[in-house]
């Protein structure tokens, strides 16, 4: 029953969601919304479970960590618990809560995102090295596309923007759509495997 019950539940709920998507019925719609709300509640419990894992790992690092581990883990636990207590006590719209969120969290996220530019540069360097015919084609098409997207490209040769547009709209789009159709069918097949209980590794174990 350890695997059968979740599989039966997954099947019933999955079929309900699919049927409510394709057919207009107030009863079905209401049932689907209820199930979605249950999903939110289950996810909230999962967040609690995940938070306990985070606290356990970092508490252990504080007591038994190497080097500066205790400092990083301490900062994480302090921030996490501090913000949770502040949010519960004063509410997430309180100026102090907002200050720490806007002054620490938002710039931190933006900083990590901004690093993408450097990562693109290093990945491009590796990808554009000519090792074979494929990478040579990649380099040439990328160079054309870059020249098509910078003002100086058009000054060098007026046809660069048109070539760039053709590269994006014909070979690139054809490849993308092929992949999209394949991925869509693969996703449906994967969903059916989960719904029918053929794929059940997510319940733990090989399922065999």
């Amino acid at each position: 029953m350890r695997q059968e019950l979740p599989m039966i539940l997954a099947f019933i709920v999955g079929i309900l969601m699919i049927v409510s998507f394709f057919f207009t019925s107030e009863t079905l719609g209401e049932a689907a919304r209820t199930v979605e709300n249950w999903g939110v509640i289950v996810a909230a419990f999962a967040l609690g479970l995940a938070s306990i894992n985070l606290i356990q790992i970092h508490a252990e690092k504080i007591t038994r960590g190497k080097g500066l581990d205790w400092l990083y883990s301490g900062a994480l636990l302090f921030s996490m618990i501090g913000m949770a207590v502040l949010g519960i006590a004063k509410g997430p719209t309180h100026p102090t809560y907002q200050f720490w969120f806007d002054a620490l969290f938002v710039p931190g996220q933006a900083t990590v995102y901004a690093m993408t530019g450097f990562f693109i540069a290093s990945a491009a360097y590796r990808a554009f090295r000519i090792r074979n015919l494929d990478s040579a084609i990649l380099l040439v098409s990328a160079a054309i596309l870059m020249l098509a997207n910078v003002p100086v490209g058009e000054k060098i040769w007026s046809q660069f923007p048109a070539m760039g547009e053709w590269l994006m709209n014909v070979p690139n789009l054809a490849g993308q759509r092929g992949m999209l159709i394949g991925a869509g069918i693969g996703g449906i097949a994967s969903g059916i495997r989960v719904l029918l209980g053929i794929e059940r590794t997510y319940l733990g174990g090989s399922g065999s």
Binding site: E36, G39, V42, A43, A46, L47, L49, A50, S51, N53, L54, Q56, I57, E60, Y72, F105, G108, Q109, V112, Y113, M115, T116, F119, I120, S122, A123, A124, R126, A127, Q176, M179, L180, I181, G182, A183, I185, G186, G187, I188, A189, S190, G191, I192, R193, V194, I198, E199, T201, Y202, L203, G204, G205, S206, G207, S208
Partner: protein, 201 residues
């Protein structure tokens, strides 16, 4: 070894990718248990965390290596995308994994994670059906599963004949789609909108 089953959840359109990532995790965990290789699994979505934990625990149990299972290696890092990415940077830099496997749904952090993996010298195998992230994985990884290959890999690695059979079904569905595209192109080229109208109903 570092493993990430994507940063997508289990209730949106990217759910099949997450399930595929977990199915591949099962296979990877069995191998790491068999060959006594430390496995670190990093998780972004809270609801995926218990599933990943159970997948790895059960894989170690089935391999008869429950003593080697370390629950502290299944780590929930953050539900925030870039906080998660930053935490993975730290883990990769400190632990220096020999292999970095990432299968599932990824967004802007895909390139960052793969580049950090390349920087620490890890052998990288990645896979995603997020088409905008595929080029980044191809540029930074040793091997990449593109789009549907991710779903096929999950079924293939299970070794279950029913699941492998579903890959054949997948290919047949693709053949039908190709047939519909050809019929659509031919009929539209001759000025008929019948087929287009039929499909749009």
């Amino acid at each position: 070894m570092h493993y990430c089953p994507g940063i997508g959840g289990i209730s949106a359109v990217e759910a099949p990718q997450t399930f595929s990532g977990l199915a591949i995790l099962n296979y990877v965990a069995r191998l790491t248990a068999r060959f006594d290789v430390p496995l670190i699994v990093t998780i972004r979505q809270p609801e995926v965390f218990p599933m990943a934990e159970e997948t790895v625990r059960q894989a170690y149990l089935e391999e008869g290596r429950s003593d080697a299972y370390d629950p502290s290696n299944i780590r929930f890092l953050s539900s925030q995308q870039f906080a998660y990415a930053a935490a993975v940077f730290g883990i990769m830099s400190r632990e220096k994994p020999a292999a970095n496997l990432m299968f599932g749904a990824f967004w802007a952090e895909a390139l960052m994670l793969a580049e950090v993996g390349a920087e620490v010298g890890a052998m990288q195998i990645t896979g995603t059906a997020q088409l905008s992230q595929v080029p980044f994985f191809v540029a930074s990884s040793d091997y990449t599963l593109i789009g549907e290959e991710l779903f096929a890999a999950a079924a293939y690695l299970s070794g279950d004949s029913n699941q492998i059979g579903s890959i054949v079904g997948q290919d047949m569905a693709k053949l039908i789609v190709v047939f519909l595209i050809v019929v659509g192109v031919v009929t539209r080229s001759f000025g008929s909108t019948f087929f287009e109208e039929l499909l749009s109903k």
